[in-house]
Symmetry: D2
Subunit: 308 residues, 4 copies
């Protein structure tokens, strides 16, 4: 079941559960996978930035992939961004053998010119092979690489195995519109666009032409519902639901401590046993935890799923 350009809906960016001592929490990997599936996600993306991928040994990365792919009944995309192509190839080939649906590749932070970006993706495809479906991660805020719509189009048109864009430019609404306009004028082939940024602009991204979301907000069920409402043309209802969560979405979308906040909520929701991160990781203060509790209590007034 390989990923293709028709993918839509919500792909949760999966956290990686750890025990308090920093070891992988195998039981929680199962429960978290089940949680995502119960939320109605269309797919999972594992070993991304939020998955603390950089803190895993190569064999751990494969072990986590094996466990989740085996358990999940939906397509699993695996982040294979790596400082060198050799490591990228190993991981990409390894997870495809395990049954992954595709891989996600972020540009390394030193890329600047359009030419460097195009060359990088050409080299990556040469290295992993042109038969592995891949996702471009476009996340300038964290990666500091800026890819224009034209550059994205050039990558997509040069590589048939590029089937999806994880869009998290900021601001990014016009970018979606521009890419969809390229398709209308016939210069860009079909491409799945899922949006990130913690879901912060999901309400409008869908109308701009996104196919769904790929993000890690701790209420994937709300994201799933919002996407469905938008697809059904229920604009006001979608915004009502989305706006109820926005204060918490915004709180989770803080660089550095966002992951701590997410794991805290995922634990409260029973998806994982511990909100531990492998070292080094930002910790929540007691005040921050109380703020999240307060936000949850306010969300709960309009969405009972937040009554925890």
């Amino acid at each position: 079941m390989l990923l293709d350009a028709t993918a839509s809906g919500v792909f949760s960016i999966a956290a990686t559960p750890f025990l308090p001592d920093g070891a992988l929490d195998r039981a929680s990997i199962d429960s978290l996978t089940d949680f995502y599936l119960d939320c109605g996600v269309a797919g999972l993306t594992i070993l991304g930035i939020m998955g603390e991928a950089q803190k895993l040994e190569p064999e751990e990365a494969l072990a986590v992939s094996r466990q989740i792919i085996a358990r999940a009944s939906v397509p699993v995309i695996v982040g294979v961004s790596a400082p060198g192509f050799t490591a990228m190839r190993s991981l990409a080939c390894g997870v495809m053998e395990l049954g992954a649906a595709g891989v996600m590749i972020a540009p390394p932070p030193h890329l600047r010119t359009d030419e460097q970006i195009l060359t990088y993706y050409a080299q990556a495809v040469e290295v992993i092979g042109d038969d592995i479906p891949f996702v471009i991660q476009d996340y300038p805020l964290t990666l500091s690489v800026q890819m224009t719509p034209k550059v994205l189009r050039e990558i997509v048109m040069a590589h048939p195995s590029c089937v999806m864009l994880k869009h998290e430019d900021w601001p990014g609404l016009e970018k979606i519109s521009t890419l969809r306009a390229f398709q209308k004028e016939g210069t860009l082939r079909p491409l799945s666009i899922l949006t990130g940024n913690g879901g912060l602009f999901l309400d409008f991204e869908m109308e701009r032409g996104a196919d769904g979301a790929m993000t890690g907000y701790a209420f994937p069920d709300m994201l799933v519902e919002t996407v469905k409402l938008m697809q059904a043309g229920e604009r006001d209802k979608a915004h009502d639901l989305f706006d109820a969560h926005l204060p918490l979405i915004r709180y989770e979308q803080q660089q550095g401590i966002g992951l701590a906040a997410r794991k805290y909520v995922l634990k409260k929701r029973g998806a994982i046993a511990y909100d531990a991160q492998r070292k080094p990781g930002a910790q929540l203060s007691n005040t921050a935890r109380a703020e999240i509790d307060y936000l949850l209590s306010r969300v709960a007034c309009r969405d009972p799923r937040a009554s925890l």
Copy 2:
């Protein structure tokens, strides 16, 4: 009426109104000043990043300052960040003669080490003189300079004329807590902390110890009310009001097109005659304008000031 460390409430970051041909819109400068005063702001900050200061000639910067300072009955802070100290001194001395309450100084983007930052502020104070009250602008997202609480403390303690911090680090809640804890332990003298980031975290910033906001959101009256509610301990009411605006606050808080969105709303509210920016400036698409209109209509359900 010089700025001091007791300043609190909302200081609006003022837009600079232009005519469609790019010339200063003198009539709108007056109407915008009146608008801010009617909103109940405690002060104004002019010639900041949002004020398109870099697009003004030195004499224009002085002219705008003169007009606003003469009309406003509240303290006016003037942004004097400049690529060189000579220009900074000229502008700082010029606006203080015109009656400004103080100046705001952002660190230039190339600063990296704590030592470079401390040296820069020491040089700035030497250049403008130690009798001009000044505000540190701490805005790493745009300025790419990271100042730790300890570095901020060192600047404040070294320079009695430093009376305020414009706090817009992201994430930044713990920073406020840390600075206030420094004061409790006696290692930091009193300091006004006003928060920025478009107001995106104002609801919690007040509880962390902020004295108010210094930002440009197009509903300064809502910011004023939120600050007052928080100061009065009306937490739920403050969040109710704030949350009603959050979808729009978030929309305005987009790098690049945020200013276009703000001017569009300010024009709708009758504060300025045109939403023109001096070139070069990002333009709103028709879709973006429609999105803002929709957001306004939703805010209006809970805050009639948004019925435009």
Copy 3:
């Protein structure tokens, strides 16, 4: 006498002489201008990074330009890079009226994508007018903007008033070869290429296709001679002369303290009365001065001009 694409030889990047108290040293401006002319330079470039342009008031910038342009019998290029286009236009128009041969425009540090770079130069040309000859400064090490040969070609082909490239990419030899190959294949019109980087690669840059140098090394007479020897095909002699100076060239080509080193040598050569920089500026330690003295004594063994 406007600058055009046939320009060649050495254009000295001129220092700006200051008195010990930071005021402009008008007498040394004259003597330094005469010194450069005596060295046989083909032109001068003033108000560049090395000219401490950012530390000058607008009226000082015009005053320095007026004095040098009036005295020099060679074309004078004026750096007009500025944080905003309004200031750029003022200065550009001002110095052209004073008789400048053209202006130099560096890209602002935040530019990343090819599109942003092209847009920036288009806006700059719109602002200053398409009748002012201009030079692109390509200096990624300091400006952090990377322009590929294709982007440079696109700027040149879009703007007939672009007549010269100040080339100081590093490494940059292949870039010169690529641009000259573009011309051979007919996709790039004639363009003067003068090289920077303190002259550190001048020996090979000439053979790659450069027309000369635009840099501030304190022995412009040596640069002039090297360029002439290379143009005459005297490769070994050119390298002999160049290599004798290379230890000092390298020493001057240190970020931050390079200018202090240059002013120190220029003062020793009698070109300026003081080696003062306007604040803030890096100072030479006694050890550094002794190192330069030693290097001069070694250069002097092979080039008597260095006996100071």
Copy 4:
């Protein structure tokens, strides 16, 4: 034989030899190791940036380390910089078991504040253990992390296992003087300082207080001789030898293609069988190769080792 603060002389940064197809060239690993030893180096540093470490699989990194450590009769330092601490610990523990003398740790590019830098090294020491001697790599030009002398002192004083600084700040002469002055005043304990930057300032670095060089210039024998001459007080002779090589040193010290140039010369000297890099790697043009040949022929006039 663990590394300690008395280390001095030349530690060659070793290239990693590859076959034309990208596989490790095991035979050349032996011959290159022998070549360095014949040059009289005091130690080797492997798996650094120049060693293409990021292109190796974890097991390849261990294999290369095993082979070189087993063959070399001098201390071997292994670069263990990695995107995550888990990979760093694995590699560090692995190579120490193989007999490495210590490890080298570069700060990751996102570090900005002094506090972040200090925290990073504290975490690294916690992770690898405080019994593995380590070297700080201070290379702002490539790593974009700026460490002041005070921060370096703080790291050294906090961690007894920090025994060496690989100094390649630029400019960096004053930094060496400052660190040595710290020691004189008693605030910094003994520390070996070896300098990098391709050797570009080695002539003066020794007088400033460096203990030697840690760099990859393709004539380590010349570096060894220069260091010995400087240690013997033969200043003029040291400079004579150094200056003869400076044109080539400068040519090798070009970002990106420097490694290609070095491998080309190492191959000419018989140290490795192929000058191949594992993909992706910058290639030398024919013109560049001819330029290097010419430079070698000129060096050879004064140093017969360059007659190749």
